[in-house]
């Protein structure tokens, strides 16, 4: 019998397993790479400050409690806004849909929350939303965001995946030094709407606290 023969020949047995478990990925996943998940028309990739904020979002694993996926139900579009489209995520590496809503969805949080709301909320969530079980993220006001790494990420995705960043995005230190003032200007615009003096001072010194980058990212979620 075939199976008795197979069980005496480990090489063919292992090969058989490999073939059988590969089917699903080949048929279900590969076709999508060719067709779907194209960006929406005229969609811009995130700025370096927003990317740095996305990295803060990843560092503190916000996605363990917040989704970024509005499903096509009236109860969800009433609560969060238009349902999500595949193309909107085309520049997201990684995807940050989340799998659990311990807190609300954030995919369009930029439409209905403001910089000062986030500032107050991240310092003390249960003061802004009584009953909230979200912890405060005070350390984001003192830790600095890694904007250089965010720039390196933008250059990497531009070179590897043709993400449409401008010609000035080059992987050299000189190019980064030339781009840095733009990031600091974006940060200053966010800090102008904040009241925390330490944050304002840091930005004035040319540093970007994590909270500034994070808010820039959250405001970009629309």
């Amino acid at each position: 019998m075939f199976f008795h023969w197979l069980e005496k020949n480990p090489f063919f047995f292992a090969s058989a397993i490999s073939i059988v478990i590969s089917f699903a990925g080949l048929i279900e996943i590969v076709p999508n790479f060719a067709k779907a998940a194209q960006p929406l028309v005229d969609m811009k990739p995130r700025s370096v400050l927003e990317l740095a904020g996305k990295n803060v979002y990843m560092k503190d694993n916000c996605n363990t409690c917040h989704s970024q996926m509005i499903r096509p139900f009236k109860s969800e579009t009433d609560r969060y806004g238009d349902y999500s489209l595949s193309g909107e995520y085309a520049y997201d590496r990684p995807f940050l849909w989340g799998s659990k809503r311990t807190g609300p969805d954030l995919h369009r949080v930029g439409n209905y929350r403001t910089t000062d709301w986030h500032e107050n909320h991240m310092l003390n969530p249960s003061e802004i939303v009584p009953g909230s079980i979200m912890p405060a993220y005070k350390h984001q006001f003192s830790n600095l965001a890694d904007i250089e790494t965010a720039y390196a990420e933008a250059v990497t995705v531009k070179n590897a995946f043709h993400t449409p960043y401008g010609d000035e995005f080059q992987g050299t230190r000189a190019a980064w030094e030339a781009h840095k003032p733009k990031v600091l200007a974006d940060a200053a615009a966010i800090a102008a709407d904040m009241k925390n003096q330490d944050v304002k001072d840091a930005v004035a010194r040319g540093e970007v606290p994590e909270i500034v980058a994070l808010i820039a990212y959250l405001n970009s979620l629309k």
Binding site: P10, I21, G25, N32, D60, R71, S86, K100, I133, T149
Partner: protein, 488 residues
């Protein structure tokens, strides 16, 4: 010519990995209990400054129980079962012993450093794949080393036919290798530029919806190939060994194995129902999830029927109790999963606590119970001593069974409550509840779940203590027991 004398198996690696299983088990479950308590009592988020928030600890919990506890248990049992069903001792090859020890130390040090890296926030933010790229490289190395020693041992085997357990260990090795490699494909940004920014950071090779597809093909099947496949390998070895019964049906094991291999991977997209993944893929995920009941129940039924005519053992051997309950929870969990994968049910269940509830009746009831039973069975053989206390095993069994039941019932109620409240509308069609209403209502269930966690960890510590006492003061055995494990 072969001699008829019994082989002296080398248990040194099985012992080492057993210690790690217990160590990572305690750590992972303690963190799990802490984060469960944080959801009921948020002040507990501030025990360790920025390093103690739920969001930092949750990946530590998941990764420690998956890649620390469970994978250690898989290694521990492989280095015990592998030799015995292949009729060859590891000690017969110095090379294999060296590779095995190298694997152990690389794994131990790598796992500790990877855990520390999560504390500091190095995370790719892909679930169960949070380790940044340097640790992915370590994981791959460990896995390759395991492959070398597994294939090596198979290469020098005396028993020509591979026993069912070996099929599953092989599948575990191949499946995880494929999934882990493809899902963790990423480009380190430091090396893609002139050394700009952090060496640790990388960016995923896939974006958006594609990344989600690859991630949940991985996420779902990491569950398959770490939490199911090797655990079935254990039950096919330890249940017949402990009970002295032959496996009920070879044909059923054949059907279940190849069925599981083919069907499981398709079901990954049921994690993405109602998302922006193309509709046909979602439907495939749902459909194959239902089909998955067949091979899952096939294995479980094969286990239960193996006990046919010997059910009296259930009353007087706690080890059989652990294994039969594990198979039963496997059946519960593998019927619950397909129910959640039905699109209309998923619309309510997704994003709620019903999902962690489902994961935990599978993991606490099936995976951990089976691994503990395996270690209870191996300990007297490895240490040549009787198990320390049967009474403590009984107490532990009931304590942990109660804990699992409290865990999943509270999370079922919490999940369905929240799912229904999110969609509830008043007579004019307006949403009835603000989001925070759907959080505060869960407090009692989160409290019950935290209590369940405390009970479960207590049981696990009793298990660890029982094994420790077995090693140190258990009655010395003059010869290796054949079937039923001796216990005081």
């Amino acid at each position: 010519m072969q001699s008829n004398a019994a082989l002296e198996y080398d248990y040194s690696l099985a012992k080492k990995f057993t210690f790690l299983t217990i160590l990572f088990g305690i750590l992972g479950m303690l963190v799990g209990t802490l984060i469960a308590a944080q959801m009921a009592f948020p002040e507990l988020n501030y025990l360790l400054g920025e390093y103690g928030t739920f969001s930092r600890l949750r990946p530590i919990h998941t990764n420690t129980v998956v890649f620390g506890f469970t994978v250690s248990g898989v290694f521990a049992t492989w280095f015990y079962v592998g030799q015995r069903v292949l009729k060859v001792s590891m000690a017969e090859s110095k090379f294999l012993m060296f590779i095995g020890n190298l694997q152990f130390w690389l794994y131990f040090v790598g796992a500790l450093l990877a855990t520390i890296s999560l504390f500091f926030g190095f995370s790719t933010a892909k679930e169960y794949a949070e380790y940044e790229w340097p640790f992915d490289v370590v994981v791959v190395l460990v896995w390759v080393l395991w492959g070398v020693s597994m294939m090596g041992l198979i290469g020098i085997r005396r028993e020509k036919a591979l026993y069912i357990s070996v099929w599953y260990y092989l599948a575990c090795f191949l499946g995880i290798a494929m999934l882990y490699l493809f899902n963790n494909m990423s480009i380190p940004t430091y090396f893609a530029t002139e050394g700009l920014g952090s060496v640790w950071h990388s960016v995923s090779m896939y974006s958006g919806t594609n990344d989600a597809l690859v991630q949940w093909w991985y996420g779902h099947n990491a569950v398959a190939f770490a939490f199911t496949v090797p655990i079935i390998a254990m039950s096919y070895y330890f249940l017949p060994k402990e009970s002295g019964q032959a496996i009920y049906s070879y044909k059923l094991s054949l059907l279940s194995f190849w069925g599981l291999m083919f069907v499981y991977l398709w079901a990954g997209s049921h994690h993405l129902l109602w998302s922006t993944v193309p509709d046909w893929m979602q439907t495939m995920g749902s459909a194959f999830s239902i089909v998955l009941i067949l091979p899952s129940w096939g294995s479980a039924i094969n286990m239960l029927l193996t006990m046919k005519g010997e059910w009296n053992q259930l009353t007087d051997n706690p080890l059989i109790k652990f294994m039969v309950l594990a198979s039963t929870f496997y059946m519960l969990s593998t019927i619950e999963g397909p129910i959640q994968a039905i699109k209309s049910v998923n619309a309510i269940a997704h994003f709620t606590d019903w999902i962690p509830g489902h994961v935990h009746d599978g993991v606490l009831g099936w995976v951990v119970f089976m691994i503990m039973a395996a270690i209870f069975h191996m300990a007297p053989r490895m240490f040549k001593r009787e198990l320390y206390s049967k009474k403590m095993m009984e107490q532990q069994f009931w304590l942990q069974t109660t804990a699992v039941v409290l865990y999943f019932t509270s999370m079922w109620i919490a999940g369905i409550t929240q799912g229904m409240m999110w969609r509830a509308v008043d007579e004019y069609g307006n949403l009835m509840f603000s989001f925070i209403d759907t959080v505060t209502v869960l407090h009692p269930y989160y409290t019950i779940r935290a209590v369940a966690g405390v009970l479960y960890v207590t049981g696990f510590v009793m298990f660890a203590y029982n094994i420790y006492k077995t090693m140190t003061v258990g009655k010395v055995l003059s010869q290796e027991p054949q079937f039923r494990t001796p216990m005081a």
